[in-house]
């Protein structure tokens, strides 16, 4: 083998060695599992704990997202109720944006189309949180 490169310091040598270990132990899942076992880590237990964590975090994020949407819709609807404004297209658009969490994006447009078919009385009832949740569930179910 050609010897054209200068010798490394001990620190450089160890750095390069661990870099190579990283590459050599991540080639496929079987190799990863063996490498972790060599380190005293049970890969099955690790995956079980990791997936449990991911599912729990996903659940918490869905709750946070639902709560955030609820807060946004509640603000819009209460604002409308206070002002005595009617549930016009603009109000429906504002509710759609609150549902989507964005301005005029594709998701907000989709919500707006769904809200167009909702009766004004139903929108007025949205001052009640339970009614907002009911509407959110209905719209999301239609979206799936």
């Amino acid at each position: 083998m050609p010897m054209e490169r200068p010798p490394a310091s001990d620190r450089e040598f160890l750095d390069r060695l661990y870099e190579a270990f990283g590459e050599a132990t991540s080639q496929n899942e079987q190799v990863l599992r063996e490498s972790l076992s060599d380190e005293g880590i049970d890969p099955d237990d690790l995956v079980r704990r990791g997936l449990h964590l991911v599912r729990e975090l996903s659940r918490q994020q869905r709750l946070v997202a639902a709560r955030t949407r609820l807060d946004r819709v509640r603000e819009v609807v209460k604002g409308v109720a206070r002002s005595g404004e009617r549930f016009t297209g603009d109000v429906r658009r504002a509710i759609a944006s609150a549902l989507a969490g964005e301005g005029e994006g594709a998701l907000a447009q989709a919500y707006f189309r769904k809200l167009e078919s909702v009766e004004p009385e139903d929108l007025q009832s949205l001052v009640d949180d339970a009614k907002i949740l009911e509407l959110l569930e209905r719209i999301d179910a239609e979206s799936e």
Partner: protein, 205 residues
């Protein structure tokens, strides 16, 4: 918990169980190897806060889901690579913390001696730092020598180790030796097991 951008949440959910399994295994292996590597680079020789390297993988995943680390799928589509960056950042912090504690212990011991002699406290622990650095350097030297000893007499391992020492990538080493990439990876893993044995014989510091 910070609410995630709905598109980011959807992307995280779309990874699915199989994808997360690969990420969990890959990220943990990465954290373990990075932690081992950093241990030899620093005088402290250990991570702070009693963390296991494997815990850091779970922490990185949690930080992304909680919105504490903002992942932008458009800018950085490879989630595993992004998570590796999160692990690196946390590891550097932990190593620096451990290093700092050790330096301060040495500095305080030095300052107390100086106080007794002169009545003046010197907050700059330069001689002690030099002492700690020298200790780290000696540890690295001893480990490097032990690794070379561990493969001595086995030509294929010695050649692969030489290639790594010269800064060559596994693919280059494979081309030099007329081996397949997989064969070189197998030899590197064999060296890794030898290194573990060598490290296990390392006296506790």
């Amino acid at each position: 918990m910070v609410p995630l951008d709905p598109r980011v949440r959807e992307r995280l959910e779309a990874v699915g169980d199989d994808g997360w399994r690969s990420i969990i295994l890959g990220l943990t292996n990465y954290a373990v190897i990075r932690a081992r590597r950093l241990r030899w680079r620093t005088p402290a020789g250990t991570l702070a806060e009693g963390k296991e390297a494997a815990d850091l993988a779970m922490e990185a995943i949690s930080q992304v889901w909680r919105g504490e680390r903002v992942w932008s799928p458009d800018a950085r589509p490879d989630l595993l690579q992004f998570l590796k960056g999160v692990v690196d950042s946390r590891l550097s912090h932990l190593v620096e913390s451990a290093d700092h504690v050790k330096r301060r212990v040495a500095a305080v011991a030095g300052a107390e001696e100086e106080d007794a002699l002169t009545g003046v406290a010197d907050p700059a622990p330069t001689p002690e730092e030099a002492l700690v650095e020298a200790e780290a350097s000696r540890t690295q030297q001893e480990l490097a020598a032990r690794i070379r000893d561990a493969v001595r007499g086995e030509e294929d391992l010695e050649l692969v180790l030489l290639g790594i020492e010269q800064g060559k990538k596994p693919m280059e080493i494979a081309a030099d030796l007329g081996l397949s990439n997989d064969e070189v990876y197998q030899l590197i893993r064999k060296i890794k097991r030898r290194v573990h044995s060598a490290a296990a014989k390392q006296p506790a510091r």
